[in-house]
Structure formats: C-alpha cells, structure tokens
C-alpha cells in the first residue's frame, strides 16, 4: 500500500469527512503504478499530519463526484472510506518524490512499503507424531495442552513405543492431567498472593552482595520485587541486556565498538565548562586526554553543540577551547545554558551510563550489559538484535513493545528475582499478578493507586489503606455495595462468595412412597 500526502482546506475537509464514504475529486495526478486500496495523509498547516484517510478506489476523472474540491482541473476521483485522527510529523516521513522547481508539489510519494509488515508466526508446525497424538486424543474426546503433547511426542519417539503403548501412555497422561486440574470456585487470588508474599520474608533486603563479579550493581531481592509490584516508572538500577546480531555476536572487536558507541558521554566527562559572567560567555575547555580515552573527536563535540536550541548564540573556537557567547545578557539564561552544555550528550545513547562487554560461556557469544536503559534507541541501532535485546525497566517495555510484552517482562523479572534467592514459586501465581496488573491495558501498581484502589466495593476500599473518609464520600453520593468480594462479606459477617461459599447445598427430600 502506498501513501501520499496532500494538503487541504481545513473546514472543507472536516465537513467532508462527516459523511463518509465520499467521492472526492483531487486536482493532482495520481501515477498509474499506485494501486488501491491506499492510504493518504492530510496536513493542514504543512508540518503535522492530522488525518489518515483510507482510499478504497480511484475512479476516472469524469465519474460524478459528491464533492468537488475544485471544479476545473479534476485529475482523479478518490473513493474515501475512512478518516482517522492521527498526529504525525511530516519530517518523520522520508519523502521519495522530488520537488519540482520551486513550487512544492501538492503531493509527495512517501515511504513505499511494498508489503505491509508481517506478523511473525511464533509457533512451529506440529510434527507427525504430535499430529497423531492429537488425533488419538480427539478420538478419546479429550485434549491436552501443546507442550505436553510435545513432550510426549519426543519421549515416544525416543523410547520407541508401539501403538498400544502409545494409547496407554495417553490414557495415563490424560488421567494424571485431569486429576491435577484446579477446582472450580478455588480462591486462586488469595493463594497466589500468599504464595508470593510468604517467601518474601526469606528474600534479602540487601541489594548488594556482589563479591567480585564484573558486572553492574543491580537491585535484587525484596526491594526489586516491591519495585516490580509497584510498577515504578524507573527501577533503581535500570539495566539492559543487549544481544548482538548473529553476524557479529562472536566478534569481540565489533561488539566492543558497539558498546563504545552506545555508552553515553556528556560534555562534562571530557571537558571543563566555565562560566564567565562579566563577558556573558561559557568556555568549554576540552580535555584532550579524556577525549582520547573515550575516542571523542572535536567534530563530534561541535556537532553536539549544534543541537543546542537557543537564540542569540555564537560559537567560536580557540584552539582547544570553545567559547559560547550570549548576545542578550541574562544571568538566568546563562546559567541554564551552562547546565545544558554540561549535560549535553556528545556521544552514545542517552541514558546508557556504562556498557560492558561480556562473553557468555554457555551460549558462546558476546553480550553487552549496560547500566542505564533506553530500549527504543538501542533496539534501533544497527548490529543489535532487535528480537532478544531486553531491559529490566518494565515501563519502557510497555512503551516500546506493548502491554503483552510488559506482562511477560513482569513475569520474567519476578521469577528471576525469586529464583536468584533460591526461592521456588510456581509461575502461575506470578502470572495471575501480572494479568491483574495489565488488565486495563496499562501497567497498574498493586496498591491503592492501582488495582486495589479500583475495587468496586465501598467497604473493601474503606477497609484497605484508603482513608475511610474518601470512600464514605463516594458512597454517600449514592453508591451501592453488592457484597460480591471477600473483604466486604467479612465485614458484614457472612460467608464469602469464594470456595464453599460460592455453592449452596440443597437437601432433597426422598420421594414419599405412595
């Protein structure tokens, strides 16, 4: 699907999209190669794309149209089906077409995507044995999850079972599986919370205890688990594990280069920044030694300085010093500017403080471990494997990869934290917590600001952390508590609606014999 931009009259456009679908005449020519269906982007002021329009068909110009943008010079009629609000920067799209002369063409061909991105399939096809097993199960009117079938299949093949034995094994497996299933009405939430909370007393509080490992200091144990459960925006020790592309993951040099590239270096790491108030200047004294150690060139410094967005600046070079002068004398601006210069990113990716290369024996490859995290930028870097590279910052994962990825990250991080301390907690409990935290499509904390605070019951919220006052207010304005949860039933003094309380026993009198 190709897309192109066209500029339009705001009022008319908005009127038009109120009654879709519509046939819309345009006064520019659409090349024949372009095939429908097709998407176009509409800007009004030329720099922000505000609408995405879905064009189903392109009709020849003499077909009657519902809305004529210009009466003469109609070159094509577009059948527009949908129009959605978006917010894109025109500059984000690399134009491929040419500007003709000094007049900007009314449309630009952009971003030729020959095919839409594919949804990668993450599951392999079943092998013959697995299919056979599925058939047998179907004939028994039973089913088993895929990974059990997989395991069975590999063992059956390895130990060479005959058909009778296969059947027997399947029957036994189904029996064992069904015996182990969870009972209906089981109070699964409480069990999960207890199973995670109880070993908490065995988690260390200490976050350190790195005796001589050449790695970064990472929060572990109880504080880390609390961070995860609180959905903290930034963990106290953000870190990334960067995997490299297959082509370079065994090449130490290349990996080192990438590590150096992403390690962020700020101006103060390689220079002294002095303020001269009387002359309203900032002097940057470059430290050649530090620059050499970090392999920074002066050009990089100059390029970085170009990124400062301030008016009235002039930058002059004097041997190893760079002088920035402010035209308008203003102490405040001078100070702000000096801070900006000090923290200016000269090289590397913002947020990555340290990048260390480590060789992993088990997988025979090099990896980069960082102190600091910037998932988006790192994934986009050449040489980095964008499939496996990850971070421990859950919120970043949510923003860059989506809520499902965040859910998996929560589970992975939590399991890791517990296993590191030698604690074994069934993953199903953690899954339940992760599912609760991501139910709303975002990552919510466990606690009164998130999951617990949104409970439907007035009494439950009142009994939890929140000041009773808050909730009595909301309650008094007409709320009704349906007494469906655990806390409220305990307060009221009746059996809870879980477990045995979810069921009513009825005694059936025996039939009276006539």
């Amino acid at each position: 699907m190709l897309s192109f931009i066209w500029k339009d009259n705001e009022k008319k456009f908005r009127e038009m999209i109120e009654k879709l679908p519509v046939k819309y005449g345009v006064d520019f020519n659409i090349p024949d190669e372009i095939k429908t269906p097709l998407r176009a982007y509409v800007t009004f002021d030329g720099s922000i794309i505000e609408y995405e329009v879905y064009i189903k068909e392109i009709l020849p110009k003499d077909v009657k149209s519902d809305y004529n943008r210009t009466t003469k010079g109609v070159q094509a009629i577009l059948v527009i089906e949908r129009a959605d609000k978006v917010n894109l920067n025109v500059k984000d799209i690399e134009p491929v077409g040419k500007k003709q002369g000094s007049k900007v063409q009314k449309f630009m061909l952009i971003n030729i995507e020959e095919e839409a991105p594919k949804i990668p399939e993450k599951f392999r096809k079943l092998n013959k044995m697995e299919e056979k097993i599925h058939e047998l199960l179907a004939s028994m009117k039973k089913s088993l999850p895929d990974n059990i079938v997989e395991e069975l299949s590999s063992r059956i093949i390895k130990f060479n079972l005959n058909d009778d034995e296969i059947r027997a094994v399947l029957e036994e497996t189904v029996k064992d599986f069904e015996k182990s299933m969870v009972d209906p009405h089981e109070a699964v939430g409480i069990v999960a919370a207890q199973s995670i909370g109880e070993p908490g007393t065995q988690l260390t509080l200490r976050t350190f205890h790195y005796a001589g490992v050449a790695e970064v200091n990472i929060t572990k144990g109880l504080p880390r688990l609390i961070e995860i459960v609180d959905a903290r925006t930034k963990p106290s020790t953000p870190t990334m594990t960067i995997y490299l592309e297959d082509s370079i993951k065994n090449d130490q040099e290349k990996v080192e280069i990438i590590a150096k590239k992403i390690e962020s270096i700020e101006m103060i790491d390689i220079a002294d920044v002095e303020i001269n108030v009387s002359e309203m200047t900032i002097t940057i004294v470059l430290d050649r030694e530090k620059m050499a150690k970090r392999r920074i060139t002066k050009t990089q410094v100059m390029d970085a300085l170009k990124r400062i967005k301030h008016q009235g600046l002039s930058i002059n070079e004097e041997d190893d010093n760079i002088i920035i002068s402010l035209e308008e004398p203003s102490y405040k601006r001078l100070y702000n500017l000096s801070e900006e210069v000090k923290n200016l990113l000269v090289s590397g990716i913002k947020g990555i403080e340290r990048a260390i290369v480590k060789y992993e024996e088990a997988q025979k490859e090099y990896r980069i471990y960082t102190q600091g995290s910037n998932l988006k930028a790192v994934l986009e870097m050449d040489g980095v494997d964008p499939r496996k590279t990850t971070t421990n910052d859950i919120m970043e994962i949510y923003e860059v990869l989506g809520v499902e990825a965040a859910r998996n990250a929560i589970i992975d991080e939590s399991i890791r934290t517990l296993e590191e301390q030698g604690l074994n907690v069934d993953i199903r409990h953690i899954m339940l917590v992760a599912d609760m935290m991501t139910f709303e499509g975002t990552v919510e904390a466990i606690g009164r600001h998130g999951v617990a605070g949104k409970k439907a019951s007035v009494l439950a919220r009142a009994a939890f952390e929140i000041t009773s006052k808050h909730l009595l207010q909301a309650g008094l304005l007409g709320e009704s508590d349906g007494l469906r949860g655990v806390a409220e039933n305990i307060i009221v003094g009746q059996p809870i609606t879980l477990g045995t309380g979810a069921v009513n026993l009825v005694y059936k009198y025996p039939e009276k014999k006539r």
């Binding site: 059990i148 079972l161 034995e165 094994v169 036994e172 064992d176 599986f177 015996k179 182990s180 299933m181 969870v182 009972d183 009405h185 699964v188 409480i190 069990v191 919370a193 207890q194 199973s195 909370g197 109880e198 908490g200 007393t201 988690l203 260390t204 509080l205 200490r206 350190f208 005796a211 001589g212 050449a214 688990l225 459960v229 074994n424 907690v425 069934d426 993953i427 409990h429 339940l432 917590v433 599912d435 998130g450 617990a452 007035v458 439950a460 009994a463 000041t467 009773s468 207010q473 909301a474 008094l476 304005l477 007409g478 709320e479 009704s480 508590d481 949860g485 806390a487 009221v492 609606t497």
Partner: protein, 899 residues
C-alpha cells in the same frame, strides 16, 4: 424446634445522605441540655445521657424500647442547630458545586445542549449508584468547564470567584459566604442537574451537606466509664457533644436576644469548629480539640481509620470466643492430623451438640457428669445447656454439680448441649503470622495432661513453628457445616503439598532425617530383639525376611524401612549424600557410597534415605507418595517414618561433641599452609596496587579489582581448607552425619569450626567502616591487608582473637538487622497483594478466572488450568511415572543409560 431461624443473606448495602427530616424522624429524643447526669447519678431528661437513647447501666431500662442493657440496641437523638453548619467531610464537594452552579438561579452554568450529550452515560452509572472512570472524568470536566463561566447562560447573572479558606470557610469575592447562604443556593439546584455534578438525586440533595440538625449517637456508642475511684468519666464524643450543645444554646440565646452581628458570627464560627472537630479531629488547618490533660480527643473519623480503627481492627478482624492459646511443645507420637490439647483447655472449650433421639442417652450421660467430672481419665462433661423457654426465647442454663442430674433428666430433643472438648473433635490450629493458608489447619483433638499444645514435628514447617517458646492458637468449630468443611478441606493431610511450588511442605526435619539415615546407610544389621524394639513404634504387617549369619538371625535396615512403604511403589533417584563430585561416572544402583535410591514394588533395594527422600521441601519419595496416593496414605507414611526415625535414633543413640570437629595435627599444618599462602597472595596484590602496576579488570577501577582479587583469594582458601579438613571428617562422625544427610548444618559450618572461618562482609564488601582511614586504631591508616579488613583466620574451635571477634560481630549484626527490617517490609507487600487479588476466583466455565465484576482476568487459570498444589513442581504431569508405569523396566534402564 430450635434453630428454625432461616438464614438470610445480606444482598447489598446502599449508601445515602441523611436529610434533616429523616434525622428528626429517626430520633428518639431532642437533646437540649448539655448536662449528662443529675445529682443522684441518674441520666438527665433531654440531656446527653437521656434514657430514650439507650441504657448502659444494668438495672435501668430504655425508655424507647423498654429493653435492658443487653437487649436495647441504642437509639439516636438529635440536636436542633441554631444556625446551619458545614459538614467538614463534604467541603470539596461543596466547593465544586458552588463553582459550577449559578449564584442566583441555581442551575449549572452550562447550556442544556452541552449537558444533554452526557445524560445517557451518566444516567446509566450514577443513577444506579455506580462510579466508573468514565463517569468521574465526565463529571470533573463538567465541573471544570462550568466553574470557568463568569456569566450564567440561563439567567445571565454575574458570577464571582469562590475561594476556600481551609478548612471550612468559603469566600465569594473576599466576602465570607455563610453556611446559610450556601444552603439556600443549594436548595435552588434542580434535581435534573444533579447527575452532572456527580450526585445521585435518589439518595442525596446537596443542601443536606449543610447540617441543620445534628444526629446524636446512642448512649452505648459513647458510654460513660466509671473509674476505680468511683468517678465517672465521659466518653470523648460525649465531651464534644457537650461543647456543641453549649455553644448552640448560647448562639440561640444571642440570636433571640438580638445581640450584635459580630458576636453572633463569632459564636457561629465556634459552633462550626466544634462540629468540625466532632467529625474529624485531625482536620488539616485546624487545631485539634484536646482534653484537659492535653491529649487530643478521639472523635468519629479517628474511630474508623487506621490499623486500630473500626474497619481493620473490629470488622475485618475480631476477637472470638471458643479460642485458646498456649505454648507449643513437640509430640512425635501423635499423628500429623492430631493436636494435643491440655485438659484445662478442653474443659473450657465447648462444642454445641443438638439433642436428637439418637444421641439423647449419650448426652444425658455427659450432662450428668457436670462441668468437672472426677477421675484419672479425662471424660468430657458439659458446661451449658440451651433450651427454648415458654416465651420462645433462648435460655442458656449453667450446669453445676447440684443441678446436673436434674438437667440431664429433663433433656429433650431440640435442646442444645454445650459439651466439653473430647478426642476426635475438629479444631483449627494456627500460628501467627499467618502468611499462607497452611498457617491454619484442621486437627483432631487428643486431650492430654499438662499445659501445652502438642503436635507431630513434621507439621512444623507449614506453621514455621519451633519450640523455643512459640505460642499457637486453637479455635473450636461450632457448627456442623464448619466441622465438615474443616475436616474435609482444611485437614493437615490435605495440605501435605504446598501451592507455592507443587511439592511437599510437611515432612521429615532434623532427627527424622538422621534416624532414617542411620537405619538405611549401608544397610546395617539388627538382631531380632533390636528389630522388634524399633518396629514397636509403627504399625506393620509382618516382619521382613531375616538374613542368617553365623546361625543368628539378623534383619537389615532397608528391609525394616520397606515395611512402611506402599506396596506398589516404584521409584529411583540420587540421594543427598551423593555429592556428584567423587565419581567420574555414575554407576547407579551399584554405587559404592550407597547414594542411589532404588525402590521396587515397595521394597528399598539400594540407597540411603535422607533429606532428598523424606525431607520437608526436597523429599522426592515424599513427593511421589503424596502425589500418587490418597492423602491418608501419605499421612500414614509420614506418621510411620517419624515414629520409626524416633525409634531408631533413641535406640541407637545419637550425640555430638566438640571432638566431632577434631582434625589431626598434620591436617592442621596443611590448613595453616594454605592460609599462609593466601595471605601472601593478598600482600602481593596490595603491593602491586600500591605501586600502580595492578592490572584492572575490564570495566573496573584498580581499587575494585584489588578488592575482588583479595576476596576471591581468601574465599578460595577457605574452601580449600574446608575440603582438606572434611577429608578427615567421615560418616562415623555425628556432626558429619547431620551435615551430609541434610538434617542440620552443612559441611561449610563444620569447616568453619574445624579449619577456618573466613572473610567477614558488610554490604558485600570487606569491613571498611570505623575510624578515619582504618577500621580500628589497632591498624595503621591505609592498611589494606586481610586482617585489617575483617579476615578471620581462626576457626571457631581455636577461638577468635578480639579483633576477629569484633569484625565477626559486625558481619553478624548486618544479618540480624536485615531480618528484622525484612519482616515488616515483606509483610506490607503481602498485605497489598492479598488485598488486590483476594476476590479472584475460578469459575466453573472452563477454568476462567474472574473478579467481582465478572471481568475476565485469565481465560484459563495459569494458562493450562492446573492447580499448582497438585502439580509436580510446576509440571502438570509426571512423565517419568507414566512411562515407567506403561513400559516398566525398559524405561528405567533406558533412562539410566541415557542419563
């Protein structure tokens, strides 16, 4: 018949605001006097303790319902306020409404067309008493929008800015808005506008947020306390009400007598203050009202809030009757399902038994015994009998020796006998902190002499109980339903496996493991006498086949052990004493160290039974039995091996002494050499560092590299020294038996006693803190050596030097502090998790997990629908077991070959 009451369920609770009319209607008396009692000590009429509002003294009757102290529930009264007062809890809402509505016509300051858009959504939620994210945000937007309009779109009147002086003063354009004016404005707001303000017109009108009548809580909500000295002390709330009435009276008098405006306003403000503090004495911006003693008063909000407040301390958790608490002590010969209850406790705790024609004779006998039966053997008596008397009311009759016979004869079906606890009764046994559901389990009672609760040691892990003075609680179940649920769902044997990780949590600890080890390691021989003695502790079918040697009959340990195994059990695995380091290749059942356990058809063929077999968390044998066999088989197995272990160990004897850690001189010299080398290596590193030639590791500074190296060198030395010492500590040594079998301690502990303790660490580093530039004044500044930073060279046996002792204490202290802080932080996290997840349950629709509003949290529990308790360490199915069952030996030998 007794117990005919139909049990009803409360379906829902609706909240609403009280209107002044309702308050007056529900009031039993109009309170006008600020005094409480008269000279005789009698409650004053129209006073705050008026008998219309309830009784607190026994002997007096309530004037409203004529009930006595225990019958009358208390009744509200009311106070007519001289002037309207703002209810402090609604200040935010009042401000919002003032901002959003017109000051003259009372409508919301937005055009009808703008508002009507939102009507359908708001009607769906607010009129039904619900509050969604959407509805709240709409209401907030409306209020924000309307607040900005300076001209009313309906009547055109000019609007002014409203400010709030905390906590209860409103100003319009600087001029103070009195409560009366606000009330008048609110009265003008039409019902149909209310939903746009977030108020449900069916349950509240905004003017009700300004009080004109104050309800007075019944007397039993704020009772008078009589101190030991005979003086009467009024409750805090009563004190506050006294203040309120006094000021209210003065205000009324001033108004009536035409006093100057200023005085009236002053009194009005004072009244507002008193009423505000009456509701919430911790209102920000207001000085709290205090007692004469200086202590702030505890008023309504304080009664509800926080951990000690009504919700958390009296509603979500309560003190209960029919409970007991005492110290616990071990009793190896009880079944895991039983609990030993002291006789004194059993006589107080009763179970209500309804009398039926089937049990009436038995019960008569019990009642006849009275509350204190005599005799050596404990026999349950009865303490109370409950019957319905002529008036149809329940009557509880105390049984005493003199009326016991009479009552026993009068017993009829329909009565209830509260009989004392006896063997077999179902009780709940609990240890706090109750961190998981296994902290409270159902046990069967065994009434015993002496004054502690007793239970089988294998049950210690789930309770996390030890016997250093711990106390535990007992609850006696009172209804048949409860007893049935407890017996079936909460029994100890149902909880042998933990939901946390799908493995056994009840199992062998300490001496159990030692005992089993001694019974089975290298298959010791026992004479017939010895065998019979050991087996006298367990139930068994018949003696195993003996082994004849030199004409005498011997029985082998493994065969004795096999007597308690289920007959069709087949399993094999490596035991704990297999440390995997000695052998190049495993020879499985031919293991010379007897470290490969093989059980066929219920017989132990090879291998040693230790922690890996029957231990509480790691026991593979226990795991299999608890999974493949019903709970009572598993319980029986645990009962048996605990008894057997006790039998073996008390028969064989087991002791330990310091000589367990003796190592020969040559070994000591070897250890010394190793440690010397390590110290030298340390010095070399330090020297290199000081001369600046130390090679830093990648990414680390020279200091960090130095520390890393030193710690590594010393740690390696400790390990090596330990290994050398361990070579001389063999399995005849009791301490080694305990360490190797997994009963208690580890080889690390032993090596620390025998050879060398090692480096102490605080925060993961060598000891650093102390004096300036050095840890202690005994060292020079800048000394980086091993001894200067917490290296303890001595062994525990040798004894620590004073400096070593000091550093060791520093390291140890860190651990203790860590534990102390950890418990509270982890407890808080557990509380939040529980609170957030407590309502989730599995439906009967294909394993879907839902919450209270039927939201689908998981489409299938755990993504596969498997209960973690029933899983095998997280895996739903035990493949090995299945394949073994179907293929038999072929599978096992193939696995062994492929291992």
């Amino acid at each position: 018949m007794m117990g005919d009451e139909i049990k009803k369920r409360i379906n829902s609770l609706n909240f609403a605001l009280l209107s002044p009319d309702e308050i007056r209607k529900m009031s039993a008396v109009k309170v006008t006097t600020a005094d409480t009692y008269d000279e005789d000590g009698f409650p004053l009429d129209r006073g705050l303790m008026d008998l219309h509002m309830g009784v607190i003294e026994p002997g007096l009757r309530c004037k409203t319902c004529n009930g006595k102290v225990d019958e009358c529930p208390g009744h509200f009264g009311h106070i007519e306020l001289a002037m309207p007062v703002i209810h402090v809890g609604f200040v935010k809402e009042i401000k919002d409404i003032l901002d959003a509505t017109c000051n003259s016509c009372g409508r919301i300051k937005m055009k009808d067309e703008e508002l009507e858009v939102y009507r359908p959504i708001l009607e769906k939620t607010i009129l039904n008493g619900e509050e969604t994210l959407e509805s709240t945000s709409i209401v907030n937007r409306i209020i924000d929008e309307a607040a900005q309009r300076t001209v009313c779109p309906h009547c055109g009147a000019e609007q002014y800015k409203i400010t709030l002086d905390k906590p209860t003063t409103f100003r319009e354009n600087g001029r103070k808005l009195s409560a009366k004016e606000i009330r008048e404005r609110f009265e003008r707001i039409p019902d149909k506008d209310l939903i746009f303000l977030g108020i449900n017109p069916n349950s509240a009108r905004p003017e009700w947020m300004i009080l004109t009548v104050l309800p007075v809580p019944p007397v039993n909500v704020r009772p008078t306390i009589t101190l030991e000295t005979g003086e009467r002390s009024e409750d805090d709330l009563t004190h506050k009400l006294v203040d309120i009435i006094r000021i209210n009276q003065r205000l009324r008098d001033s108004k009536d007598s035409g006093a100057p405006q200023l005085i009236i306003e002053d009194l009005w403000e004072l009244l507002q203050y008193h009423i505000t503090t009456y509701f919430d004495n911790q209102t920000s911006g207001l000085p709290p009202a205090r007692h004469r003693s200086g202590r702030p008063l505890k008023t309504l909000v304080q009664r509800l809030k926080g951990k000690e407040g009504r919700f958390r301390s009296n509603l979500s958790g309560k003190r209960v009757n029919f409970s007991a608490r005492t110290v616990i002590s071990p009793e190896p010969f009880l079944s895991i399902n039983e609990v030993g209850v002291p006789e004194e406790a059993a006589r107080e705790l009763t179970v209500p038994i309804p009398v039926t024609p089937f049990n009436i004779e038995k019960l008569r006998e019990i009642v006849r015994r009275g509350p204190n039966p005599k005799g050596e053997k404990y026999l349950p008596g009865a303490n109370y009998v409950i019957k319905q008397n002529e008036k149809g009311m329940r009557q509880r009759i105390l049984i005493m020796e003199k009326n016991a016979e009479e009552i026993a004869n009068k017993l009829e079906p329909g009565w209830i006998v509260e009989r004392q606890l006896m063997d077999g009764d179902v009780v709940l046994f609990n240890r706090q902190p109750s961190l998981h559901r296994m902290s409270m389990m159902a046990h069967r009672v065994r009434v015993m002499k002496h004054r502690t609760f007793r239970f089988n040691l294998a049950v210690c892990p789930p309770y996390n109980a030890d016997f250093d003075g711990d106390e535990m609680n007992l609850h006696v179940l009172q209804s048949e339903e409860a007893k049935a649920e407890a017996r079936i769902l909460m029994a100890v044997q149902e909880h042998i496996r933990s939901p946390r990780f799908g493995g056994p949590i009840i199992g062998g600890v300490h001496d159990h493991i030692t005992g089993m080890f001694m019974l089975t390691y290298m298959n010791p021989k026992f004479t017939k006498e010895e065998t019979l003695h050991i087996l006298s502790y367990v139930k068994y079918d018949k003696l195993p086949d003996p082994v004849i040697e030199n004409g005498k009959e011997y029985y082998r340990g493994k065969d004795i052990f096999s007597l308690i195994l289920p007959k069709d059990l087949n399993i094999e695995y490596k035991s704990k004493i297999c440390d995997g380091t000695g052998c190049k290749e495993c020879v499985f059942e031919k293991c010379p160290y007897d470290a490969y356990v093989m059980i066929k058809e219920g017989r132990l063929i090879t291998g040693t039974i230790d922690e890996k077999s029957i231990g509480a968390f790691k026991g593979i044998l226990l795991d299999k039995i608890s999974r493949d066999y019903p709970p009572d088989v598993a319980a029986q197995f645990i009962d048996n091996f605990t008894r057997l272990a006790v039998g073996v160990i008390s028969f064989r004897g087991f002791t330990t002494g310091i000589d367990d850690t003796d190592i020969p001189e040559e070994t000591k010299i070897q250890v010394d050499l190793i440690l010397n080398d390590a110290i030298e290596a340390t010095k070399t590193y330090i020297d290199a560092y000081q001369r600046g030639i130390l090679q830093p590791s990648p990414g680390k500074s020279p200091e960090e590299t130095l520390e890393d190296n030193i710690m590594r060198v010393l740690s390696d030395a400790q390990k090596k020294a330990g290994e050398i010492a361990s070579k001389h500590l063999g399995l005849e040594n009791p301490s080694v038996i305990m360490a190797r079998s997994g009963a208690r301690a580890s080889m690390l502990n032993l090596s620390q006693v025998a050879a060398n303790i090692g480096q102490q660490a605080v925060r993961g580093r060598r000891i650093n803190r102390g004096y300036l530039g050095r840890t202690l004044p005994h060292f020079r500044k800048g000394d980086l050596g091993a001894y200067a930073h917490g290296y303890v060279r001595s062994s525990y046996k040798k004894g620590l030097t004073p400096l070593e002792y000091f550093f060791h204490a520093m390291g140890g202290r860190e651990g203790l502090v860590d534990t102390a802080v950890r418990t509270s932080r982890s407890g808080y996290m557990q509380r939040r998790l529980i609170n957030a997840l407590e309502d989730l349950k599995v439906t009967d629709n294909d394993g879907i997990v839902i919450d209270t509003t039927d939201n689908i949290i998981q489409f299938k529990y755990g993504e596969d629908g498997i209960d973690p308790t029933r899983s095998k360490g997280g895996k739903p199915v035990d493949f090995d077991s299945i394949f073994q069952k179907v293929l038999g030996e072929r599978y096992l030998s193939a696995k062994r070959g492929g291992k």
